[in-house]
Symmetry: C2
Subunit: 252 residues, 2 copies
């Protein structure tokens, strides 16, 4: 029997890992480790360092190259579908090579939590395994580390908050009925386009890592500073992962 463990590893800080995640990693017969053809080699290194830190032998790690997503055409949903199919085929090739008996525990390390803006569950569903053989281990998400680092609450008392993406914020503006937004997956500095007055921003990049950066303040006052710092850091590291919370002022 094949068991697939999708394991949230938090933000790259080994201290953010749970015991459940640690046990799942240590109990795995094989760890599938993706490599990307971009400037994020540092991220693969963080995962490798985590495995080393936990004492996982290198012989248990199966490296594979992530396929590229077709970026031509305006059929975004199809592109994503094809891409997930292609990734699932890489997994299967890797499993066939390393677990030819088709039996064993396979671990995939997921940044943050597999439930949050991550494709691993959807790719896993393509393997046709019964649900009981796919196990999800929650991990600390970047929105939690953001709030922890700034010492703030996600929500105002009894109030809702919306978790959304940079694209949604650009396309639809500030949503109705909510004073707090968490914006993820924003490669395009969408906060610059927020026209609301009196909004506070709590921004963080490389959360949980040694190079963590935090900035906060009234959006109108600090937006330019965040963009400059962001560009500089991205240049220096070759990549950036950031997230922010926006809150109408005077709410807490």
């Amino acid at each position: 029997m094949l068991e697939l463990f999708l394991i949230g590893i938090g933000t790259g800080n080994p201290d953010h890992i749970t015991r459940e995640a640690e046990n799942a990693i240590l109990g795995a017969d094989l760890v599938l480790l993706p490599h990307k053809e971009d400037n994020k080699a540092e991220l693969a290194q963080v995962r490798l360092a985590l495995l080393q830190h936990l004492g996982v032998g290198g012989y248990k790690v199966a490296h594979f190259d992530m396929p590229l997503r077709r970026q031509t055409g305006d059929d975004y949903d199809n592109q994503v579908d094809e891409w997930h199919d292609a990734i699932a085929r890489r997994w299967q090739a890797s499993l066939a090579a390393h677990l030819p008996s088709g039996t064993g525990r396979v671990a995939l390390l997921v940044w943050g939590d597999p439930a949050l803006y991550d494709s691993t569950l959807r790719i896993a569903s393509r393997l046709g395994l019964p649900p009981a053989q796919v196990r999800v281990v929650p991990g600390i998400t970047s929105m939690q580390v953001l709030c922890s680092a700034h010492g703030i609450a996600l929500n105002e008392i009894g109030a809702p908050f919306l978790v959304t993406t940079g694209r949604q914020l650009r396309d639809h503006g500030w949503p109705a009925g909510v004073d707090t937004l968490i914006v993820m997956l924003d490669g395009q500095r969408s906060y610059e386009q927020v026209s609301e007055q009196d909004v506070e921003i709590y921004w963080g990049a490389y959360l949980g890592m040694a190079q963590q950066i935090l900035l906060r303040g009234r959006l109108a006052d600090v937006a330019a500073q965040i963009s400059a710092r962001r560009a500089q850091a991205r240049q220096a590291h070759g990549w950036i992962m950031d997230i922010y919370l926006l809150r109408r002022s005077g709410r807490r």
Copy 2:
């Protein structure tokens, strides 16, 4: 110098605790443990069992009784304010008794994550400590354990989701512009009042604990079953903590 650690301990399952949380608990000179005058004694027991599990000596634990919130009048915000003040005074009395030098590391164990629908940060702010002396340690939240247990993603691809409360759902109905809701703090089965057609519900109670219950299905088909199971479990245990995700059907 006094340092206050607000530590997310997840859902009561010791395996959900992070290394950071474990280290913060083990490094504390004092753990403040609240007791409530209601049927939730079992919850204090879970925290005590966790401390024991981690090897924290009983002499480090300061027990205190939670004050009651005034429930008369329609000034809810004032009631909460007064109540937080009263809790802060209990903390201070406990600190004066157990750490008379005013120096040391104090830990408070918070269900889930201190950033999410929890008052500990707001109570801590009443102690007048400099921000650097209040440290927040993120923990796995019930919404993550809910998704992990059901094997589902929080969000549809690239789409937002709203985290809200039972009261908000009752008072304002299904919010505009979002197909996925996480509903917390719902003691009143507000899902029964959702009039939307074709909504899926993923419900969980006592998440991460031995008595965990999961139900899912088309809301119109399973709402009554959930309410019955909920009443039965609440009766049996004397308390219940539950949470659910609602998603318009056909989205994933």
